[in-house]
């Protein structure tokens, strides 16, 4: 069965500094990897996904993620964090069957 680990409960970063949210996964076969963001009282919003090809994936709002097969990781990054990036971030993995397995989420706090 597939699973996702997001090891940090909360990530604090100063506005303007680089933001990294970590994700490692376990899945049989080729992984399809996703990042979603959730704002308070809102549903999940899609940020980006890795299917195949270039290991660096660019997504919405200036976010990008790097797929590392040897380390089974898919860390989310943003070069310069904004206060508006403060939210809950979820990593998810899907095998062929499309049952997404989500991590527990990381709360990101961007400090002005």
């Amino acid at each position: 069965a597939q699973s996702v680990a997001q090891p940090e409960d909360q990530v604090n970063v100063a506005e303007g500094n680089p933001l990294t949210v970590k994700c490692t996964y376990s899945v049989s076969g080729n992984p399809y990897l996703f990042w979603y963001v959730q704002y308070p009282n809102r549903g999940l919003q899609f940020l980006l996904k890795y299917i195949t090809g270039d290991n660096l994936v660019k997504g919405s709002y200036g976010f990008e993620a790097e797929f590392n097969k040897s380390q089974t990781s898919f860390h989310l990054k943003k070069p310069s964090a904004l206060v508006s990036d403060s939210a809950l971030y979820f990593c998810a993995v899907s095998p062929l069957t499309n049952r997404l397995a989500f991590g527990k989420g990381n709360q990101v706090v961007v400090i002005p």
Binding site: Y32, F34, R42, G43, F90, T97, N98, L100, G103, K104
Partner: protein
């Protein structure tokens, strides 16, 4: 393009009562999902429909939960009777089935969710 619609947004009930949630997916999306998100956890898939057929309901507690998508468009999730541990946010998502692509590649688009509190 309109997003996934859900109602109600909030619901408070007492244990052993019944409750129903409604979802209207993005127009043209054949696949519809219901997730349960307990506070402090990631969403967990309850049931997945493709058109009006069930693809995956292996994690649905079938003794109390039921779902239907009769005309292959909107869907209803019901809990009867509710338990305290059912307090959660219920998220509906939809995705577009594109012929020839692996299903796992599809992006799921989520609605705002229904927050349920069982007292």
């Amino acid at each position: 393009e309109a997003g996934v619609a859900q109602s109600p947004r909030y619901k408070i009930i007492e244990k052993r009562q019944s409750v129903a949630f409604w979802c209207n997916p993005i127009s043209g999306h054949a696949t519809l999902y219901w997730y349960q998100q307990i506070l402090g956890q990631g969403p967990k898939l309850l049931i997945q429909f493709q058109n009006n057929g069930v693809v995956d309901d292996s994690q649905l507690p079938k003794d109390r939960f039921s779902a239907e998508r009769l005309k292959g468009v909107d869907s209803t999730l019901k809990i009867q009777p509710a338990k305290l541990e059912d307090s959660a946010v219920y998220l509906c998502a939809s995705s577009l089935v594109v012929s020839g692509q692996g299903v796992g590649q599809e992006t799921q688009y989520f609605g705002p969710g229904t927050r349920l509190l069982v007292l």
